[in-house]
């Protein structure tokens, strides 16, 4: 691969290149060495396998939902089954895929390396996090196999406490356990970032990926316990009939809404911030320049984390809350939109005066910017009180959150996976098919969810098994898109697996990127660094990198 063609990829000579003899993958052999590991990189890979498994289950449910919605009649599955499908789809995708996706896989793998540490602060707690995730996942599967839960992922009371006969307790406890996985991961990250940075690695020399995960970790640590206690109260209300949420006993179902959304709104920022962090790594790498306005982007992450805790009532605007409280929360929601806008512009301007190439991670980055802009701005629709009255609880909401979660977060995750795949495995994925897959996903995604904005304005409610016939055409378009999207998401599974054996050897720094992770071998040693690095350069310091490169002779292996 020559550097004169319009790609930045620089691989070692494939005739002589090999995977480094000693690396974290072959450091120890045997299943137990993986299941009892303390190595953050191995734990990251364990997470990757687990969340991929749950992603495909959640995705299968989505497929069934879209299949049912091809026709206005409720003819594919029974109503109870349909309700279970969308509930399980939501629970699995939110709690078992999106929340851990970037932090537990990419974050776990990269944060210690990016700050020059040998591991996270608490490796055993890291492993415990994974096991808690598995227990939560297994309990969710148990709830599924025993018949499923049909309360929606939002467990709204009094429906969930008194009016369904499904496995609410199992599902609620499953999420309770999975929540602790999240809390411990966030706790680990915060302590690591505070205490284990290498000499010279000041806060403002850290890569922005670390800043984003730090902000998300603060939210994980502060917000998730509130979800935990809310689920406990729901389980108690269901099992021993305490009356905390039951109006006939003097309780208040609206209290549940407040408690639930107090976590679940920060949860969406927990989900998106790490993805934004990935963007802040990919875009500089493929523009060959420092992120525009590093400080602004860093502070925006923290601002989102702080403001994100003060907007939860915007999920309740039509529920009979006082008009004046609605005013306050609408205003705060408008404020929380601003840091995200700042980031989008900063990324865009990073491209200016750069030297841009269009490898697959960059394609995913472009997809993110476009789709997140749409998703974020449609959030402004919903933050405007009077507009929310018409749009809430319709497919507009469904489209909005899928744009930010899938069009934003999932694209960021895939982009990050492709970007750091050579580092994590030592192998390159196949570039042409991955580009095709990215474009397929993008097209499929828009075809699936753009019609849903229109459906929402027309008034089609969400969570509807059957719908009036006049909505059919748009639903058919949406299902067609979902098929294309499904193909686009299946392809990486296949070619990434293929690349493990047949991919090109990547070498240390196939992207010629800055960052400590690109200065070490691929895959890294178990202890990451042979010697603790001394950091005397800024983040995204391409000039430093260019100087360094000149001084060296290229060797591999």
């Amino acid at each position: 691969m020559s550097t004169t063609s319009s790609t930045i990829v620089n691989l070692p000579d494939q005739r002589t290149a090999t995977i480094p003899k000693k690396n974290y993958i072959n450091a120890e052999d045997g299943l137990l060495s993986w299941l009892l590991t303390g190595d953050h990189k191995r734990i990251a890979m364990l997470y990757l396998i687990s969340i991929t498994f749950f992603f495909f289950i959640g995705g299968a449910f989505a497929g069934l939902i879209r299949l049912e919605l091809l026709t206005p009649q409720p003819d594919l599955v029974a109503s109870d089954t349909y309700n279970k499908l969308f509930s399980m789809h939501g629970i699995i995708m939110v709690f078992l895929f999106l929340v851990p996706s970037v932090p537990a896989t990419l974050g776990n793998f990269l944060i210690p390396i990016m700050i020059g540490a040998k591991d996270l602060a608490f490796p055993k707690i890291n492993l415990l996090s994974w096991y808690l995730y598995l227990v939560g996942g297994v309990m969710t599967l148990a709830a599924l196999v025993m018949g499923g839960v049909d309360t929606g992922w939002t467990f709204t009371t009094p429906l969930s406490t008194h009016y369904v006969n499904t496995h609410v307790v199992t599902a609620g406890l499953a999420i309770f356990v999975a929540g602790f996985s999240s809390i411990f991961t966030g706790l680990n990250f915060i302590v690591t970032i505070h205490r284990m940075r290498a000499p010279g690695m000041t806060w403002f020399r850290m890569p922005l990926f670390v800043w984003s995960n730090y902000a998300a970790s603060i939210m994980m640590v502060l917000g998730t316990p509130v979800l935990a206690i809310t689920l406990v109260l729901v389980v108690l209300e269901r099992t021993i009939h305490i009356g905390v949420f039951d109006p006939s006993l003097g309780g208040d179902p609206l209290l549940f809404q407040h408690l639930f959304w107090f976590y679940s709104h920060p949860a969406v920022y927990i989900m998106i911030l790490p993805g934004m962090g990935v963007m802040s790594e990919i875009i500089p790498a493929f523009s060959r320049k420092r992120v525009f306005g590093y400080t602004a982007v860093a502070f925006s992450s923290v601002a989102i984390a702080v403001f994100g805790f003060f907007v939860w009532e915007h999920h309740m605007f039509i529920m009979g809350v006082s008009n004046y409280s609605a005013l306050v929360f609408s205003l705060l929601t408008m404020l929380v939109a601003v840091p995200s806008a700042i980031k989008v512009f900063n990324w865009s301007f990073t491209l200016q005066k750069g030297s841009i190439t269009f490898e697959t991670p960059m394609l995913y980055a472009f997809a993110f910017i476009g789709l997140f802009t749409i998703g974020g701005l449609t959030g402004v629709f919903l933050a405007a009180l009077g507009m929310d009255i018409h749009l809430t609880e319709t497919y507009f909401i469904v489209a909005h959150f899928h744009y930010v979660m899938v069009g934003g977060m999932l694209m960021a995750f895939l982009g990050g996976l492709h970007f750091w795949w050579p580092k994590m495995t030592g192998r390159m994925y196949p570039e042409s098919i991955s580009k095709l897959s990215a474009v397929t996903s993008f097209i499929g995604f828009n075809l699936t969810f753009m019609p849903q904005f229109i459906l929402g304005y027309l008034g089609m409610p969400r969570r509807y098994h059957a719908y009036p016939a006049e909505f059919q055409v748009l639903n058919v378009l949406s299902t067609a898109g979902a098929t294309v999207l499904g193909i686009g998401f299946l392809m990486p599974m296949i070619y990434m697996a293929w690349s493990l054996k047949y991919g090109a050897i990547a070498g240390n720094n196939p992207w010629q990127a800055t960052g400590l992770e690109w200065q070490i071998q691929s895959p890294p040693l178990t202890e990451n660094f042979i010697e603790t690095p001394i950091v005397d350069f800024e983040a995204y310091d391409f000039e430093w990198l260019a100087q360094k490169t000149e001084q060296e002779v290229t060797t591999v292996g």
């Binding site: 609605a326 806008a341 319709t394 027309l458």
Partner: protein
């Protein structure tokens, strides 16, 4: 920024006929649509701007044309620009949205009230004149209608997309929404808060009638007894008139004219007596004791349905004198009980 009504009608008609846009069938709908188009506009502008930046820079600075990147730290001016301009736009959306919200959730004082009770999985509409509908709502055009709604079980949400109104329907307290329909026709009612198995079956129709047609409809579909009359019956049969007889020495306060008044309670606070207060006072009397009276009123929680409560509330709203209260007191004390349909369970 006003666009001519002619142009607006044309735009809406064109969009509606394309089946991509709902009809505007209420007085508030054009206001909602105006905000929507504004939001769409800034979304498109934002998207085009970001797209132009990204695509423009990508093409102009692609590696072939720009082999070496120029390191740029940032620009405070640009940061300020793209902080302040989005913030300003969002604040405009906030103000506009807030104004619209207050319009939709603050009914005019002369609104005609209709009660809606939601339960799994149907809507029951109770007109004051005694018309009862299931999954249907007949309303006259050109008249502000307020819906006072409550759920018998779980959270539901009453939505009429063509009117651009929606409100959650909650167990345990009334919620209200109002609209004024402009065009005769039928329009969807949806339940939009997931409520269990037949959530997508909890749909119905609003039928908007001209005032004449509405009059004909009320006459032909009344159950014979208005809500207030039913309430009077319940007031007597449940024994309310025993304490609330209107006598000076009665154990309970007189309820004639109490609706709409400001009441002083035993704990010193003053409350405005509205539908929610009346309902609460029947179910949780100990927190609603009028000053000067003992806390002896029993609770009727579990003994009366939401429809029964609605009838009682309507009755109390209409109660101007205690004449008939006294009358029914005597009747219920005599041996001549009002004939009841055998086997009918008290609501």
């Amino acid at each position: 920024m006003h666009i001519s009504p002619v142009l607006w009608q044309f735009l809406i008609k064109w969009l509606t006929n394309s089946a991509l846009f709902p009809r505007e069938a209420s007085t508030i709908a054009p206001y909602t649509d105006a905000l929507y188009f504004f939001l769409l506009l800034i979304t498109c502008v934002g998207l085009v701007l970001v797209g132009a930046l990204v695509f423009g820079f990508s093409i102009r600075y692609r590696k072939d044309r720009s082999p070496v990147a120029t390191q740029v730290e940032g620009s405070t001016l640009l940061e300020a620009t793209w902080t302040i301009i989005p913030l300003a736009l969002f604040l405009v959306c906030f103000v506009w949205g807030a104004l619209l919200y207050f319009r939709i959730y603050n009914p005019p004082t002369n609104a005609m009230n209709i009660y809606v009770v939601g339960k799994q999985w149907m809507w029951k509409a109770e007109h004051p004149g005694g018309q009862h509908e299931i999954n249907n709502l007949h309303v006259p055009m050109g008249v502000p209608i307020q819906l006072t709604m409550i759920s018998q079980d779980v959270f539901h949400s009453f939505s009429i997309p063509d009117f651009r109104v929606k409100r959650e329907v909650i167990p345990g307290r009334y919620t209200t929404v109002w609209f004024e329909a402009t065009t005769p026709g039928t329009y969807h009612i949806f339940c939009t808060q997931y409520c269990g198995t037949k959530h997508s079956g909890m749909i119905g129709e609003v039928t908007v009638l001209t005032p004449d047609d509405y009059k004909k409809w009320t006459e032909s579909s009344t159950s014979g007894m208005s809500l207030a009359q039913n309430g009077e019956r319940l007031f007597a049969s449940m024994g309310c008139n025993a304490c609330h007889s209107g006598d000076a020495a009665a154990r309970g306060p007189s309820l004639a004219g109490v609706y709409g008044s400001k009441l002083r309670l035993t704990n010193g606070s003053e409350v405005l007596v509205n539908e929610a207060y009346l309902r609460d006072a029947i179910l949780n009397p100990s927190q609603h004791i009028t000053a000067g009276y003992a806390p002896i009123m029993p609770t009727y929680q579990g003994q009366i349905s939401e429809e029964g409560l609605i009838s009682l509330v309507e009755y109390l709203k209409s109660l101007k004198t205690n004449y008939r209260v006294q009358q029914t007191l005597t009747t219920s004390e005599s041996n001549q009980a009002a004939p009841m349909t055998p086997g009918v369970v008290k609501p």
